[in-house]
Structures are given as C-alpha cells and as structure tokens.
C-alpha cells in the first residue's frame, strides 16, 4: 500500500528522527510513504478567526496537490501538520463560501476530496495493531510508557475524530502492540504550552513540568509523543524544571516512531537520540533494548 505523505518543515530538520523512523518502519510494515513533490509549509497554525483566509491557502494547496497527483489520502506524522490539514479540509468540505474564496485565490479546484490521516491511524485502521504485534521482533517488555497525546492530535474532536477526547486509547493500544505497558496517565491530554514557548516561557515550563511529573508519578519510564513541538517543550524544559525543583525526576521523551522502530528491530544507536537533552539510552540499556 502506498500513501501520499506530507512530512512538513520540522520533520526535515529538527525532528528528522521522527521522520526517519517513521519511513523505515513503514517499509518494515509493508507500506510506502510517498512524499509529495514540492510541498510547502502547512502554516503551523489553523486560523481560529474566520476572516483569515490567507492562512488556509498553504494547507489547501497541499491538499489540492495531493488530489491532483491522484491521491485520495494524505498521511502526516506531525500533530501540528495533521491538525492544520485536517481542519482546513473540514472547511473545504463544509463551508462553501470560504472554500470558494480560498481556492479562487490559489487558483485550484478543491472540495475536500482528500482524506487526511495520521500515521497512527494507518497503523490502527489499515495495518491493524494485532498485525503490528506479529511484526514486532523485539518486544518492549517491562517498559512503562506514558502516552502523551497533547492537544492537536485530538481536538477539536468533531473535526479531528481520531479518538475520544477525555480518555483516548489509540496510543495505549499502539504501545501494547509493541509489548510495552502503557501507564494510566491523567495528564495525557493536557497542553504542553505549545507556541507559548516563544512568548510565555513560564507557561510552557509549568505545563511541561505538570505533565512530566504526572507521568513519573504514575510509574512511566518514558514519555512518547507524535508532535515535535510537544517534544521540544517536554524535553528541553527539563533542565529548567529541575532548577526550580531539585526533586524533579527527569524523564526521557521519545517520538512514537522511535519506539516503534526499536520494537521492529532497529538499533537504538540509529535512532538519533543524540539530540535528546534527557538521554533515553541509559534507560533503554537497562531494559535490554539498547
């Protein structure tokens, strides 16, 4: 199976490891991520005011390109891109007036034909977690994982529709398929502070601290995420959090594709953990996974 794939800007640079592992795993699982040619940035925010059409021109062009190249689906790995493309697509499908304005402006014919999918959905709905379990070569036994969803993978539920809002389980089911143990983690849907990290650093620090402390309290060895912005907040804020609270126990933060890659037999040394501030390798060695 071949899926048109939109990596997005961050996955080409700062979150290259999210992309690399995702692509390698897809090969091992028997599906192909076919990168869209000449893609542009998705805009990184879905405009929440209804008179800011220009912000939707980028994501609409991406969706129209997908359609023109014969794609009926578009897969993303990054939560931000996923959210922006998915919500833009909802506008294309449900708001004729705005759709027309935007498509006229970019001179494209698009009516929301493409289905925007997150990689996790491909694993759940197309591959199947049971089949995934069978392909695991190195089960992540004894590994306790806090599945951090954050905001953009879930909300708004009516538009995103990936899982239920208050207690989603897709990530936990994924982790179980890899042989690891998901922990019950009440902060899994709380915000990490998102873009406030460029404006109100204390918001991002406090939010990240609450999430990480809650993960630790519930016995997590590590936290996984789908989002490079969440990853940045959760990983990079830890030295600062520790300064404020010496009792704070650091937690490694991994991309879900890195965890998947480990279970599918990739060597931990190839997964690019050198960029992590909180190095997961000691933990992975201790668990016999590296």
């Amino acid at each position: 199976m071949k899926y048109p794939y939109f990596p997005g800007c961050t996955l080409y640079t700062k979150a290259k490891k999210l992309d690399d592992a995702g692509r390698e795993c897809s090969r091992r699982l028997g599906f192909e991520l076919d990168e869209l040619p000449d893609w542009t940035c998705c805009g990184a925010t879905f405009p929440l005011v209804n008179d800011y059409h220009i912000a939707m021109s980028g994501p609409t062009r991406i969706l129209a390109d997908t359609k023109d190249q014969g794609g009926s689906q578009l897969v993303t790995l990054c939560s931000v891109c996923f959210n922006v493309l998915k919500r833009t697509n909802v506008v294309m499908r449900t708001d004729e007036e705005r759709r027309q304005k935007i498509t006229d402006f970019i001179e494209r014919d698009y009516h929301g034909e493409v289905e925007v999918l997150h990689y996790l959905q491909v694993l759940r709905d197309e591959i199947g977690f049971e089949q995934l379990r069978e392909k695991v070569v190195k089960p992540l036994t004894d590994l306790k994982v806090a599945c951090y969803y954050g905001c953009l993978l879930l909300r708004p539920v009516k538009e995103i529709g990936l899982d239920v809002m208050e207690n989603p389980t897709i990530f936990e089911d994924f982790v179980r398929a890899l042989g690891a143990e998901p922990v019950d983690f009440p902060y899994k849907i709380e915000c990490c502070g998102a873009f406030q990290v460029v404006h109100s650093m204390e918001t991002a620090t406090r939010c990240s601290r609450d999430i990480l402390a809650n993960a630790r309290l519930n016995g997590a060895d590590l936290v996984i995420t789908t989002c490079p912005l969440c990853h940045f907040n959760l990983d990079d804020r830890q030295p600062e959090i520790r300064k404020g609270d010496p009792r704070f126990q650091t937690v490694p933060v991994l991309y879900f594709t890195q965890l998947l890659a480990l279970a599918l037999g990739l060597d931990a040394a190839e997964l690019g953990f050198e960029r992590n501030l909180i190095d997961p390798l000691p933990l992975l060695r201790e668990k016999g996974l590296a």
């Binding site: 405009p47 931000v80 708004p156 849907i189 915000c191 502070g193 460029v198 109100s200 940045f232 990079d236």
Partner: protein, 138 residues
Amino acid sequence: MKTRISREQVQDDFINKVAEISGENFFNCYQCGNCSAGCPSVDEMDLLPSQVVRYLQLGLADEVKNCRSMWVCAACTMCHARCPKGVDISRIMDALRMLNLREPKAAARVDVTDFTPEYLERAPQIAMISGYRKFLPL
C-alpha cells in the same frame, strides 16, 4: 470603582467585531467556569477565560482589549472541548489577538533578537511559525 454599563457599550463595535470574526455568541455562555477550571495558562492570565467572556457580555471592551489572557492562551482548545454550551474560547482569544495585531501601530509581542542561537538551533520550526502568527503584527 463602579462600572457603568449601557446599551451603547454592550453593543459596542469592537465587541461586535470580536463576535463576528470569532464566530462565537458570547451569550451562549452561562458562566459555569468549566473553561477556567481546565485552562493550562490560568497562572499567567489576568482574567480567567470565563471572565474574558463575561467582560465581552457586559461590553467592557477596554478591559478585554488590554488583557494579558489573550496573549498567554496556548490555543489548546480544552475550553471548547469541555464547554457545555460549545463556546470556543480559543477562537475568541484568537480574535482578540488578531484585532490587536491588526491595529496600525500594533507592537510585536515577541522579539526575534531575544532568542539565543542555542534556542533557535533547538526550537522546531512549527514553534517559531505558529508563534510569529500569534504574536507579530500582520
């Protein structure tokens, strides 16, 4: 200090503009406070999210125009997800930000030169782009 409210104020142009571009009817809100109870940014806010809506209901435009809350909202949309009346406060906050940033003499809320090279080397593009969209004049 007493606050006088009036028809002109409740039906103020700015208030109407916020309603228009956010697409939200402030009068759907019955002030249960669920949004404030679940908001991650409350510590940095001067008005609770529910209070922002209350000020808009009463037409207290100046207080809302100058509030800090809109700038520290992370657009996580938890307020909307849990609102019993379906009010999307993240849209209202974005409308307030946008109207502010569209002012002719709007000030940038972040200064790119403040970021250290180390920070810029680490921060993902999505952080910078979404940040600029929320904090720089249009």
